[in-house]
C-alpha cells in the first residue's frame, strides 16, 4: 500500500465535486484527504486527492476520473516532483504546569500561536502531512481540545503547469 497524490483540474461548476466524490464512493476508493479550491482562472477548480492503495487501484482511479466529462486535466505528484503542504489549527488546554513544554514543542515545529487565553492556546502549522502528524502526536501528551486540518494541496515544481496538460 502506498500513498499517492493526484491533482485534478475540473470545470468550476455546480455539482462537480459531487460527481467526483460520488465516483470515489461508488467504486470504494480509499481517499485520505481531499481539497477543493479556486484556481488562476475562474472557469476551473482544482481538486487535490490523497489516495492510499495499490498502484493498480491508483491507475483505475485516474482512468475513472478521465471518464468524467467535467475533468479537464489530471496530474500525479510525488515527493520529488512537487511541493505539498497542509494547514493545521490545533487547540490545546492552557495549563500552568505544561504551558512551557507546549510552547517549546510548538516552536520546534514552527507552529505559530494564533490565539491565547487563560483557558486555551491555538496553534497554526503549515507543513507536509507527515510533519503535521508528528506535531499532533507530540501534542497528544497534553490536553488537545480540538483539531482541524485541511488536507494536502500540491503544486508541481518547475515552470510547467497542470493546464498545459489539457489532453482530454
Amino acid at each position: 500500500m502506498s500513498r499517492y497524490t493526484v491533482a485534478v483540474l475540473v470545470n468550476n461548476q455546480f455539482g462537480v465535486l459531487n460527481r467526483v466524490t460520488s465516483m470515489f464512493r461508488r467504486r470504494q476508493f480509499n481517499i485520505s484527504a481531499l481539497t477543493v479550491s479556486e484556481t488562476e482562472t475562474k472557469e476551473l477548480s482544482r481538486i487535490t486527492v490523497v489516495f492510499d492503495g495499490e498502484d493498480v487501484a491508483k491507475q483505475q482511479l485516474i482512468n475513472q476520473l478521465y471518464k468524467l466529462p467535467d475533468v479537464c486535466s489530471i496530474k500525479e505528484f510525488n515527493e520529488d516532483n512537487s511541493i505539498s503542504c497542509e494547514l493545521l489549527l490545533l487547540k490545546v488546554k492552557n495549563e500552568t504546569d505544561t504551558r512551557d513544554e507546549v510552547r517549546s514543542a510548538a516552536d520546534a515545529f514552527g507552529a505559530k500561536t494564533v490565539d491565547y487565553s487563560k483557558g486555551y492556546l491555538m496553534f497554526r502549522l503549515t507543513d507536509i502531512s507527515r510533519r503535521i502528524d508528528d506535531f499532533i502526536n507530540v501534542m497528544r501528551d497534553f490536553t488537545i481540545l480540538e483539531i482541524c486540518r485541511t488536507g494536502s494541496v500540491s503544486l508541481e515544481k518547475g515552470s510547467t503547469t497542470i493546464r498545459q496538460n489539457l489532453n482530454l
Partner: protein
C-alpha cells in the same frame, strides 16, 4: 428564430436526426408535449404504457440502429421510472438521451409535488447528466448530450429541464447534427507490443464483445482470425456480430457459454480480447481464469484495461481502427495442431447437445430459427430463456440480437422489441419467460395501439427458472418463492389487450403458431409450455473454473 424552451427541445431533437422518440407525458413536461404536437409532422412520438417501457424502447431502437435513442418523461415518478432503463443502457454502453421535466426553478429544493433530484439519482448510471437552469443553454446542452452519448464508449445522458425553462423564450438557430468524437486507434508502440505477443502465440483465441458491434469491427475480427488461424468466441453482448454458421465461430462463452468456446479460451496461450470487460459471468473465478494465457486487451475505455483481469498488453483505442493497424504487422500462419484441438472440443460439445423429443427449450428456439430473416431482430428478457436463445439462435447480422447483458433486467425485452421494430421498420421477436414477461407485459397495449409487429414467445414453465436452477444446484432444492402458481391465461390476456395469441405444447404446434404469428400485422403472443425442470447447460458454477463445468444434469429433481 425566437422560440420557447420546449420548442427548442423538440427542434433540437429534430435537428439531431431523431425520427422516433419514446415517452410518457405529465405535468412538468406538458410544454414539451405541446411542442411535440406542434411538430408532429417532423418527429414521431411513441406513447408507452409505462416510462420504463419507453426507456427500453429507446434502448432497443439505439441497439438496432446505432443511433441515439431518446426517451422523454415528466418529473418525479416519471423520472424515477426511467432509472432501470437508463441503468440497463449504461451497463451495456448504449447511446441514449433521457429528457425529464422538473418543477420550476423557483420551486427546486422545496420538495414540491412530483419534484425529485433526478440528476442526483442518476449520477452513477449515466455518462453525464445536466440540470438546465437557463433557456439560453438548452439547445447546446442537448447537442452536447448527443455528442457524449455516442462518443467513445457510448452510454446514456440525462437532461433535467425545469418547467419555467421550457416556457422561457430564446433565440434558436438550427445546426448540423453533432458528430461523435473522432475515434482513435491505440498507440503504435502498444500495437507493436501486441503484435509481438500474437505472433508468438501457438494457441491464439479471439474473444470479442459488444465493443466490436459498437465499432462495427466484425470484418476486421474475421480477417484477423483468418490471418493468424484462430477460433473466435464472444460474450453475450457480442452475439450477432459474427454469423453463427461461420466455421471459426464457437459461440458465446462464460457461465452458460458453448463448451467448445469456453474450453478453447481456457486452453489458449494468447487471448486477444476485443471490446470486452471480463465480467464475472465470463471469467468465473478470476484467479483460475485462463491462467496459461497472455491477454491482449483492446478497449476504447482505458479504465477497462487491468480492471478485473491483468493483461499482458492493454490497448486503449477503437477496436476497428486498432485492428486495422494491427493486421498488417501480424504474421500469417496456420495452427493446425491447435485448430484440431478446437475441432475436438467442438465434437465433444455435440455429445452434450439436447436432442430430446417434445417441446424442449432448444427445440423451440430451433423452430423459431426457421422463421428468422437476415434482418429480424430477436430480443430477450432475462433468465433461462435468455440463455437458451443465446445458445441456440441462428445469428446472421450484427445488431439483431438484443439482450440486457450487464444489468440483467427482467422486463427489458418487450420495450426493446417495440423500439427495435421502429428502428428497422420490420417485425421483431421477443423471447421471454413467464416471469420476465410478467414484469412489463403492459407494453402489449403499446404494441396493439401502434400495430407494432412483435412476435412474443413466452417460454412458460410456471416458475422463475433460472433462480430455481440455482436453488436446485446450490440451495438444496429449496424452491423459495420461485414457483409462480399463477392462473394467467396468456392467450386470453393477449385477446383482452386487443392482440391475438395461442398456447402451444408441441414443436409442431409451435411451428404452426409461428407461421400465423409471422403473418400477423400486429403483435402475436405464443404461450409456449415447457417443463419446469429444464436446465440451462452447460453451466460454470458461480466462482468456479473450467474444471467445475456442469455439462450434464446429475441432480435428481
Amino acid at each position: 428564430m425566437l422560440l420557447s424552451g420546449s420548442d427548442i427541445v423538440v427542434k433540437t431533437l429534430i435537428e439531431q436526426g431523431c425520427e422516433t422518440v419514446f415517452g410518457y407525458p405529465g405535468g412538468q413536461i406538458l410544454n414539451v408535449y405541446d411542442s411535440l404536437y406542434k411538430y408532429q409532422n417532423e418527429i414521431n412520438h411513441v406513447l408507452t404504457a409505462h416510462e420504463q417501457g419507453a426507456t427500453h424502447a429507446a434502448d432497443g431502437y439505439a441497439r438496432t440502429t446505432g443511433k441515439v435513442g431518446v426517451v422523454i418523461s415528466t418529473s418525479g415518478p416519471g423520472a424515477t421510472n426511467l432509472v432501470t432503463g437508463i441503468a440497463t443502457a449504461y451497463l451495456d454502453s448504449i447511446p441514449m438521451v433521457a429528457i425529464c421535466g422538473n418543477v420550476p426553478t423557483t420551486q427546486i429544493g422545496t420538495d414540491s409535488f412530483q419534484e425529485i433530484d433526478i440528476t442526483g439519482v442518476t449520477l452513477p448510471i449515466t455518462k453525464h447528466n445536466y440540470f438546465v437552469s437557463d433557456v439560453a443553454d438548452l439547445a447546446d446542452t442537448i447537442r452536447e448530450a448527443f455528442k457524449l452519448a455516442k462518443s467513445g464508449r457510448p452510454g446514456p445522458v440525462l437532461i433535467d429541464i425545469p418547467k419555467d425553462v421550457q416556457i422561457a423564450k430564446c433565440e434558436y438557430e438550427e445546426q448540423a447534427p453533432v458528430e461523435k468524437d473522432e475515434p482513435f486507434a491505440a498507440k503504435d508502440v502498444r500495437i507493436k507490443e501486441a503484435a509481438k505477443i500474437i505472433n508468438s502465440a501457438k494457441r491464439p483465441f479471439i474473444y470479442f464483445g459488444g465493443g466490436v458491434i459498437t465499432s462495427n469491427a466484425q470484418d476486421e475480427v474475421l480477417a484477423l482470425a483468418e490471418k493468424i488461424d484462430a477460433p473466435i468466441g464472444c460474450s453475450l453482448m457480442g452475439l450477432s456480430a459474427i454469423p453463427t454458421d461461420h466455421p471459426r465461430f464457437l459461440g458465446m462463452q462464460g457461465m452458460h457459454g458453448h463448451f467448445a468456446s469456453s474450453m478453447s479460451m481456457h486452453n489458449a496461450d494468447v487471448i486477444l480480447s476485443l471490446g470486452v470487460r471480463f465480467n464475472d459471468r465470463v471469467t468465473g473465478n478470476r484467479t483460475k481464469f485462463a491462467t496459461g494465457a497472455k491477454i491482449v486487451h483492446v478497449d476504447v475505455d482505458g479504465s477497462e484495461l487491468n480492471k478485473t483481469v491483468n493483461s499482458a498488453c492493454g490497448l486503449r483505442g477503437d477496436v476497428k481502427l486498432t485492428l486495422k493497424k494491427l493486421l498488417p504487422i501480424l504474421n500469417e500462419g496456420t495452427k493446425s495442431e491447435w485448430m484440431a484441438k478446437v475441432e475436438a472440443f467442438r465434437k465433444e460439445e455435440e455429445n452434450f447437445l439436447d436432442n430430446r423429443e417434445g417441446l424442449t427449450p432448444r427445440r423451440a428456439i430451433l423452430t423459431l430459427n426457421k422463421y428468422l430473416g437476415d434482418n429480424t431482430v430477436v430480443c430477450t428478457d432475462v433468465g433461462q430463456h435468455q440463455m437458451w436463445a443465446a445458445q441456440n439462435l441462428n445469428f446472421k447480422t450484427a445488431r439483431r440480437f438484443l439482450s440486457s447483458g450487464g444489468l440483467g433486467t427482467m422486463g427489458f425485452g418487450f420495450g426493446a422489441a417495440i423500439g427495435a421494430a421502429y428502428g428497422i421498420g420490420e417485425r421483431s421477436v421477443l423471447i421471454t419467460g413467464d416471469g420476465s414477461f410478467g414484469m412489463n407485459l403492459n407494453e402489449l397495449a403499446t404494441a396493439v395501439r401502434y400495430n407494432v409487429p412483435v412476435v412474443v414467445i413466452i417460454m412458460n414453465n410456471g416458475v422463475l427458472g433460472m433462480v430455481r436452477q440455482w436453488q436446485a444446484l446450490f440451495y438444496d432444492k429449496h424452491y423459495s418463492n420461485t414457483i409462480l402458481e399463477r392462473k394467467t391465461n396468456f392467450t386470453a390476456f393477449a385477446k383482452s389487450f386487443g392482440a391475438d395469441g395461442e398456447s402451444v405444447t408441441t414443436p409442431e404446434e409451435l411451428d404452426e403458431a409461428l407461421g400465423r404469428a409471422f403473418n400477423t400485422e400486429g403483435p402475436y403472443v405464443i404461450d409456449c409450455k415447457i417443463d419446469k425442470d429444464e436446465f440451462v447447460l452447460p453451466m460454470l458454477p458461480p466462482g468456479g473454473c473450467m474444471d467445475d463445468i456442469i455439462t450434464k444434469l446429475e441432480v435428481k429433481l
